[in-house]
């Protein structure tokens, strides 16, 4: 299940849907990304995306994750638009029979979302608004996965 939306989402409802009525799930690994504020002086950020391409790339990433690990369910919800510190940005949840697969696939999908999905961030700080550049650390994390394939 993949959704890109402006509205907030309820992680509990998404996790409940993932496991509803099943008894073959051994574990659900999930990640919720939030807007950090305070220490960074960030007042708000606006996530711009490429409608159509975003969904297309996310679907491809899910296919790749399912090719690498035996997954039972995958849920990805990503927001766009203007977000305040403390607000949720993204949910990645993976259900599998065994915890190792759930953890690995969840981290893989999260890394790809952060480095490959067509989103751009405009941050509003004390010194005005500016577009965030890609981080070397993120590119390193993405490379880690590429090498493993």
């Amino acid at each position: 299940m993949i959704r890109v939306q402006r509205e907030d989402f309820d992680p509990a409802a998404e996790l409940a849907k993932l496991a509803a009525g099943r008894t073959d799930i051994g574990g659900i690994a999930s990640f919720v990304g939030l807007v950090r504020g305070a220490a960074d002086g960030v007042r708000a950020m606006t996530l711009e995306h490429y409608p159509g391409m975003t969904e297309r790339q996310l679907a491809a990433i899910e296919v790749e994750a399912r090719r690498r690990w035996p997954l039972l369910e995958v849920a990805i919800v990503h927001r766009h638009g203007r977000l305040l510190p403390g607000e949720r940005i993204v949910l990645v949840a993976v259900a599998a029979a065994h915890r190792g697969e759930a953890f690995a696939a969840c981290e893989f999908l999260t890394d790809w979302l952060k480095t490959q999905a067509p989103f751009w961030k405009l941050e509003e700080g004390a010194d005005g608004a500016h577009w965030i550049e890609a981080r070397a650390a993120d590119e390193g994390r993405a490379g880690r996965w590429a090498k493993r394939s």
């Binding site: 990304g33 939030l34 807007v35 950090r36 960074d40 960030v42 950020m45 996530l47 711009e48 490429y50 159509g52 391409m53 297309r56 790339q57 990503h78 940005i89 993204v90 979302l113 952060k114 480095t115 490959q116 999905a117 067509p118 989103f119 751009w120 961030k121 405009l122 941050e123 577009w131 965030i132 550049e133 890609a134 981080r135 993120d138």
Partner: protein, 86 residues
């Protein structure tokens, strides 16, 4: 050809999308970038440093050698930055 611009490319060019009809010799992403840079001061500013720009052709990432045709949707944007921070 339908063009889409995102993030600071959109800000500099001043529009989010436009329809263009490049001359026949514009056959690749690199040639399209060179041609677009001549269209206005905003385009020139946006495409001044092609190394900072990524492209997608028909919603798939494409390198500068990728072919472009009149019927394509071509998008230009900075490297993606995903969800913030974490």
């Amino acid at each position: 050809m339908k063009l889409l611009y995102f993030a600071w490319l959109r800000s500099r060019i001043g529009v989010a999308e436009e329809e263009v009809a490049p001359p026949a010799e514009v056959a690749t992403v690199a040639q399209l970038i060179a041609w677009l840079a001549t269209r206005s001061p905003g385009h020139a500013a946006a495409f001044a440093n092609p190394k900072l720009i990524r492209a997608a052709v028909n919603q798939d990432y494409a390198d500068v050698g990728h072919a472009v045709r009149a019927s394509d949707e071509v998008a230009f944007f900075p490297p993606v930055t995903g969800g913030r921070g974490p």
